[in-house]
């Protein structure tokens, strides 16, 4: 015997019916997720004006690198009189929803970084189909045109990796530790692969960028465990500082090099503790797409002739660090 009072019959009947109602609705009008279909063609648009552009990246909020991209996009918006909305999420599903959101808002252009291109594909194609021009930046170079974006602005990660590997090989190093800081980032893997291709003898190490203590001690541990490592390549400026400290604490003679800049990296290059930084000039990845969208929408101009616009690799080392230092401090390099 249960102590349950009788609920009104109608609510019970309704709640029992609910799943069936939903199922019936699902059967009513439904379209599948779509298999490998060719990309939608950009609906030819007439020349018009650009009022607002949405920038959706995969950088986690507070990331030094993406802060520069954001500054670039906002500066371009200010210079051209365009409203720029910057949003970011490291989760690809969330990023896809942010793109959908921009389409729902009816922006005049979308700028997307595609760390996980497959996941963003439906949303990017939806934007293209809605007649909104898309520029991809930073990652997703090879999928950019396939999804219907009209240009990609970034740095080819494997080429940049190879350039870094070559420079370390030129510095007569023999064994490299490549430090990967984001488990889900394809670009990071491409950098290490490129560096390995040009350099040779390499081991990779996985660290967590959100936990600097852990990153530093893991690099230190790797150096202590294998004394023959004489080069450390980090893929991010925040990890670079940890790498420099780890080398010092481990009493290792390894040369440290990194991708990307921040003021710690500038200081370390000045002090001679860091050989060089591969600079992909990400300020351009924020600034240029806004300009390109403006040109495209107002004058139907395209740039690059179907090839990506390369913003890197540039190198910052002892020879040019002084000139770049002030620019890093103001958040534009």
């Amino acid at each position: 015997m249960s102590l349950r009072p009788q609920r009104s019959a109608t609510t019970w009947r309704f709640s029992r019916l609910l799943p069936w109602v939903a199922a019936a609705a699902l059967l009513a009008a439904c379209s599948g997720p779509g298999a490998d279909a060719p990309a939608p063609s950009q609906t030819p648009i007439a020349a018009g004006t650009v009022n607002s552009v949405a920038v959706v990246t995969h950088g986690s909020p507070g990331d030094a690198f993406w802060n520069v991209v954001k500054n670039g996009a906002e500066a371009a918006g200010k210079d051209l009189g365009i409203r720029v909305e910057y949003n970011a999420s490291g989760d690809p599903g969330q990023q896809a929803k942010l793109i959908d959101n921009a389409v729902a808002q009816g922006v005049d252009g979308v700028v997307v970084s595609m760390a996980n291109p497959e996941a963003l594909r439906p949303s990017v194609e939806k934007a293209v189909a809605a007649g909104i021009p898309v520029v991809t930046i930073n990652s997703g170079e090879s999928e950019s045109a396939k999804f219907g974006a009209f240009v990609h602005v970034g740095q080819s990660e494997s080429l940049a990796g190879q350039a870094a590997g070559r420079r370390l090989a030129d510095a007569r190093r023999t064994k490299m530790l490549c430090v990967i800081h984001e488990a889900g980032n394809i670009g990071a893997n491409q950098r290490c692969e490129g560096a390995t291709k040009a350099f040779g003898n390499t081991t990779t190490l996985q660290v967590d960028i959100n936990n600097p203590t852990d990153a530093q001690s893991r690099i230190k541990g790797a150096l202590e465990a294998d004394r023959s490592i004489d080069a450390v390549l980090t893929l991010n400026s925040q990890v670079a500082a940890r790498g420099v400290d780890a080398v010092r604490e481990a009493g290792s003679a390894a040369t440290v090099a990194t991708f990307d800049l921040n003021s710690d990296v500038v200081e370390a290059i000045r002090a001679g503790r860091l050989l060089f930084a591969v600079d992909q000039q990400q300020y351009e990845q924020g600034y240029l797409p806004i300009v390109l969208l403006q040109l495209y929408r107002t004058n139907l101009n395209t740039v690059g002739g179907g090839t990506p616009v390369q913003t890197g690799p540039g190198f910052v080392d002892k020879s040019n660090v002084e000139a770049v230092a002030a620019l890093v401090a103001q958040g534009t390099r």
Binding site: S2, L18, C30, S31, G32, A35, G93, A119, A183, N185
Partner: protein, 349 residues
């Protein structure tokens, strides 16, 4: 045939002499419902895009996968336990499906079945260890969480040499499986994702289980007073193990809809989301101490999350402040819940 009573029923019984308004105020989901209404009205006024068909589809979509998990986590929390491995489970199941379908060449349906079995085994293991050892589920599932995170990365890199698995679109059976988990339902201009339908159906199912079945009584009983529940013959171990399997199952549903919709999965997906599920359940009126809460409330909690997340973007606020807003919002929701709960206690006395 059980003597264990349920909180919500007790309130209903004792509140027989109360006004309808008071009766409403003692329901666990009332705080969340008011919060959702507030957030909804707020963003509708601030930005007209929020109520456009595309806009509605976007925030429902955002709330859906969170909601599916929050509902399962709410049942578990009413049963007095936590599952911290729920977030990473969404990635593990997607990875198992993707690896089998893409790299082993299985039909997607068989891959889905295999990942379902995997999820249920992990869920049962969680429940079994918790009940067997008497350790807090917080600790046990934290262990599972870390283990799964390592497995996700290790196995993915071992098999693919990279950290993402993609290419599901060209696997056998993708079309039909995709139709079930990742199709869109067009109502006018709004493209409603299949995950939204799953969310509604699973919420209804969970609500029915909770308030209409003997098993629902057992959930309240083992969460409210375990020794007493055992004393009156409630199969506590079976109940809790099933609840852990429930969160794992929800993880499988979300993982499957993610992999089939986005056609790729990253090894680090889902980390940190387990706290969002717990927050959504708590906003929906679940107590951290167990024995009180509602499935519908958890679904509404997820809805608040989705509306706020997308609403902030629609309102074109600077995304730097996003987390602050979310934190304040959640705190406010929980405080309101707390007030209502205290009132409910008073009414019951």
């Amino acid at each position: 045939m059980t003597v264990a009573t349920k909180t919500s029923d007790t309130t209903q019984e004792r509140s027989a002499g109360l006004s309808p308004l008071q009766r409403l105020a003692v329901r666990p989901e009332i705080g969340a419902a008011l919060g959702a209404l507030l957030v909804f009205v707020f963003f509708s006024i601030i930005t007209d895009r929020f109520l456009s068909p595309l806009g509605v589809a976007t925030w429902l979509d955002d709330a859906s996968t969170l909601g599916i998990m929050a509902v399962a986590v709410a049942l578990l929390m009413i049963g007095g336990e936590f599952d911290l491995s729920a977030g990473v489970m969404t990635a593990s199941t997607a990875l198992v499906t993707a690896l089998l379908a893409v790299h082993a060449g299985w039909n997607v349906w068989f891959a889905l079945l295999a990942s379902l079995v995997f999820a249920l085994v992990v869920g049962a293991f969680n429940g079994w260890v918790v009940m067997r050892t008497g350790l807090p589920s917080f600790i046990v599932t934290l262990g599972t969480f870390l283990a799964l995170q390592g497995l996700n990365l290790g196995v993915t890199r071992l098999v693919t040499g990279t950290v993402q698995v993609s290419g599901v679109r060209s696997a056998d059976g993708y079309q039909s499986a995709g139709w079930v988990f990742a199709s869109t339902l067009d109502i006018g201009e709004a493209h409603i994702q299949a995950s939204v339908v799953w969310w509604v159906v699973l919420t209804a199912l969970a609500a029915i289980i909770l308030v209409r079945t003997r098993f629902g009584n057992w959930i309240f009983a083992v969460g409210g007073a375990l020794p007493s529940a055992r004393a009156v013959g409630v199969p506590a171990d079976r109940t809790k193990i099933l609840l852990f399997m429930g969160t794992a199952f929800a993880g499988w549903v979300v993982g499957s809809s993610n992999i089939l919709r986005f056609a790729s999965v990253q090894a680090n997906q889902g980390v940190g989301l387990e706290l969002h599920y717990i927050i959504a359940a708590v906003v929906g009126g679940c107590l951290l101490t167990g024995g009180f809460g509602s499935a519908v409330g958890a679904a509404i909690g997820a809805l608040i999350f989705g509306m706020a997340r997308q609403g902030i973007v629609f309102a074109r606020w600077d995304s730097d402040w996003f987390m602050l807003f979310l934190g304040v919002l959640l705190l406010a929701a929980v405080l309101v819940n707390n007030r209502f709960q205290k009132r409910a206690e008073r009414v019951r006395r």
